[in-house]
């Protein structure tokens, strides 16, 4: 990738402002941050444009697959560490099913997976995709299974091209991923059948070589699968591949990677942190999946903007004039934890959210963003005084020291709530109902 200054050197340097920026340098900076594309400058020479577009091409290809009109994307990453910008496309978790089980069993398994809901910060997530393995080696059985699972984005695993061909033919409404072989025959098939092909190799060299070969057929829809022997090799291979793609602009390695975690939760977690685009898992254990979904949610959250709630008065249940009033900050995590405990308590409540820059209670308190002034202001602005007849507000236990000042400034009585959200139901029952 080029720096702002290197880009600037390719521009006309007339500061004519036609690009909408005050100077060529400002425009160059914007290109380097990928906010604009070089062709926004009408006067740029065609060589320079070509050079810049090539250099600014994302170092890793984005791969689309899955259900038509609702495709999933993986890859397209630009950094090695999330704090350098962000990670864009979280790895898809593919649950492995074998085609040797009976169709009844398979149907049940698919139903169970379909019914799994994972709630993270108020949003419901589902299992992304299924991987079906052609253990039967029978094209008819394989395609029947694929047909049964067709509402999920699918990864078809088979070494037998006839099985894959047949299975592909029953998947009209999606772009499947195929994990089999990467010989010419398979490349051609994947190319013609609008599918993504997994390229396997036991070393980076082999992967890079095969990837080049595939791309020479003008086919770019690939995922790389380093077939590693153990976790140590996985770490080194995946990290090296990512680093080569991003730092050395190695185009043959600029594709998402596939990792097989088997039944091992810890290895799956490792792949989430370190660079897999697809992870094949051999588990349907809800608790394991919840753990992994949460890790993925954390690692792939955007460090440039914390998730925030709108600061205002929230009504939970149907609170009335005698209902409790609680206050907390607008950090989404904090809000959702308190919210879900209030829901659990079945006590209708008012929850007042302050404007605290999306910080947790203690971080906000330490930064003076959850002060008695700010809470008092929120009380006044929210018109809660028109909605309840009492004047009692429950504050988080970890900021008990706010009590005196808050009471003087707001005229409300401050009740010190528990320090941890899970204790809120008990607290409400003991002090309110």
């Amino acid at each position: 990738m080029m720096t702002g200054l290197q880009i600037y050197n390719q521009l006309p340097k007339t500061n004519c402002r036609k690009c909408g920026f005050p100077t060529c340098l400002a425009f160059a900076m914007a290109i380097s941050q990928r906010r604009v594309s070089p062709d926004n400058c009408p006067d740029i020479s065609s060589e320079a444009e070509k050079l810049l577009s090539e250099a600014m091409r994302p170092p890793m290809n984005k791969i689309k697959f899955g259900l038509k009109h609702n495709e999933m994307e993986i890859g397209g990453e630009e950094v090695l560490y999330r704090h350098e910008r962000t990670f864009y496309h979280q790895p898809a978790l593919a649950l492995l099913l074998s085609d040797t089980v009976s169709l009844e069993e398979l149907k049940d398994a698919i139903e169970t997976i379909r019914d799994m809901d994972f709630e993270l910060l108020g949003e419901i997530f589902k299992i992304d995709m299924l991987a079906i393995k052609n253990d039967s080696r029978n094209p008819d059985i394989f395609s029947e299974c694929a047909h049964l699972a067709r509402d999920f984005p699918l990864l078809l695993i088979s070494e037998d091209i006839d099985s894959v061909r047949k299975a592909r033919s029953v998947l009209k409404d999606q772009i499947p991923i195929i994990l089999g072989d990467s010989s010419e025959e398979w490349i051609e098939f994947a190319h013609n059948a609008d599918s993504v092909l997994v390229i396997r190799g036991s070393s980076l060299d082999e992967l890079a070589q095969k990837s080049k070969q595939v791309q020479s057929h003008h086919f770019n829809n690939i995922i790389l699968y380093p077939e590693v022997k153990n976790i140590k090799e996985a770490l080194v291979t995946f990290s090296s591949s990512r680093e080569m793609a991003i730092k050395s602009n190695c185009q043959s390695l600029g594709f998402p990677l596939l990792g097989r975690a088997g039944k091992d939760l810890v290895i799956a977690a490792h792949f989430i942190c370190k660079y897999a685009g697809i992870i094949i898992l051999e588990t349907t254990d809800y608790e394991e999946l919840l753990t992994l979904m949460t890790l993925r949610f954390n690692i792939y959250s955007d460090p440039r903007k914390p998730l925030m709630m709108e600061p205002k008065l929230y009504e939970i249940g149907k609170p009335g004039e005698n209902s409790p009033v609680l206050v907390t900050t607008n950090f989404a995590l904090t809000y959702h934890m308190v919210h879900s405990e209030i829901v659990t308590s079945h006590v209708p409540c008012f929850l007042l959210i302050t404007a605290s820059d999306g910080l947790s209670v203690l971080s906000a308190w330490a930064a003076d963003k959850f002060s008695s002034e700010i809470i008092t202001k929120s009380i006044k602005n929210s018109r809660i005084e028109d909605k309840v007849s009492h004047r009692k507000i429950i504050i988080p236990g970890c900021v008990a020291s706010l009590k005196m000042k808050l009471e003087t400034e707001s005229g409300w009585e401050a009740l010190i709530g528990p320090g941890d959200a899970p204790m809120i139901p008990q607290f409400l029952k003991a002090h309110w109902v």
């Binding site: 810890v266 753990t291 890790l295 954390n298 460090p303 995590l333 947790s360 899970p422």
Partner: protein, 295 residues
């Protein structure tokens, strides 16, 4: 194909814990991001034992640890062969009103007699109380090279001096901010304890509870040191057990709690932590199995 990887001019300090008649272990010494150089010094896994079991302690941890007295708990922890034992003297806290079986210093005398594992000794988290109590414990362990903690901006002076005269190392805690961490390291070094003997705690959050902030600060901290910032080259530690077992998930089922603690620990290991303090033996077993393959 030639694999080109970033090269770093900095080096992470090597920390030794234990000595005299106590076993010795070490960690740190890296010249690359986590696990990328060979051989790689693996992170240390510590198991934590509390002097008293608090009433609001997680029910599953209680089941494992509470039936016995402090000394039996230490023996039990030792039976899982952690690399390090972490003794936590929480009873000193002004918020805790259950009495331990004795004063911290008395308990420590008994404790050190029953185990020869390297030790981490932590206080109750109250700055003032810890500033009083930890130097006594530090004196008690003179020359046995323990890792003492936790020092903050408020109370580092006494603790740094005490570690320096007794030849211990010190955990220094700052809230997820590299400039604060660096500043505290400098202040502690000025009291006579070099960065090699400081262990940074950049705060710990459990999976789903702000983990991403801690994960990234570890990565940033490690990269800064490798890029040559010597004042940030201390090894890093995370109190994974304490945070994980407080979560809603860990109240729901023991297995989920174990998953939570294990994966939280794994993330910090990936981020660059050199010492992980765990509360559930099952996590120790699972992580050790992983590290055995890894290093």
């Amino acid at each position: 194909m030639e694999v080109i990887r970033a090269e770093y001019k900095g080096k992470i300090c090597t920390l030794h814990v234990g000595g005299m008649k106590r076993q010795t272990v070490s960690c740190g010494g890296h010249t690359s991001p986590p696990f990328l150089s060979t051989p790689y010094q693996r992170p240390l896994l510590a198991l934590e034992v509390y002097d008293v079991i608090l009433p609001d302690q997680n029910q599953y941890l209680k089941k494992i640890w509470s039936a016995e007295d402090f000394i039996s708990r230490i023996k039990k922890a030792e039976s899982y062969s952690p690399d390090v034992l972490c003794l936590r003297f929480i009873s000193a806290s002004p918020d805790v009103n259950i009495a331990a079986e004795g004063q911290p210093a008395e308990l420590l005398i008994q404790a050190k007699a029953v185990t020869d594992l390297p030790l981490i000794i932590t206080g109750c988290g109250d700055n003032t109380k810890d500033e009083e109590m930890l130097p006594l414990l530090s004196d008690e362990m003179k020359d046995e090279n323990v890792l003492l903690g936790v020092a903050t901006e408020e109370n580092y002076r006494m603790l740094a001096v005490s570690c320096s005269v007794n030849d211990h190392s010190l955990i220094a805690e700052t809230p997820l901010d590299l400039s604060l961490a660096k500043q505290l390291n400098i202040l502690i070094q000025n009291m006579g304890l070099p960065v090699e003997r400081i262990v940074m705690h950049h705060a710990t959050a459990a999976l789903g509870y702000g983990l991403e902030y801690c994960y990234s600060i570890l990565e940033k901290s490690r990269l800064a040191a490798l890029e040559g910032d010597h004042m940030l080259s201390s090894v890093m530690l995370n109190f994974v057990g304490q945070e994980s077992w407080k979560t809603r998930e860990a109240q729901k089922s023991e297995q989920l709690g174990i998953n939570w603690e294990t994966v939280t620990a794994l993330a910090y290991i990936e981020g660059g932590a050199d010492i992980i303090v765990l509360d559930h033996p099952e996590c120790l077993i699972r992580l050790r199995a992983l590290l055995d393959q890894w290093t």
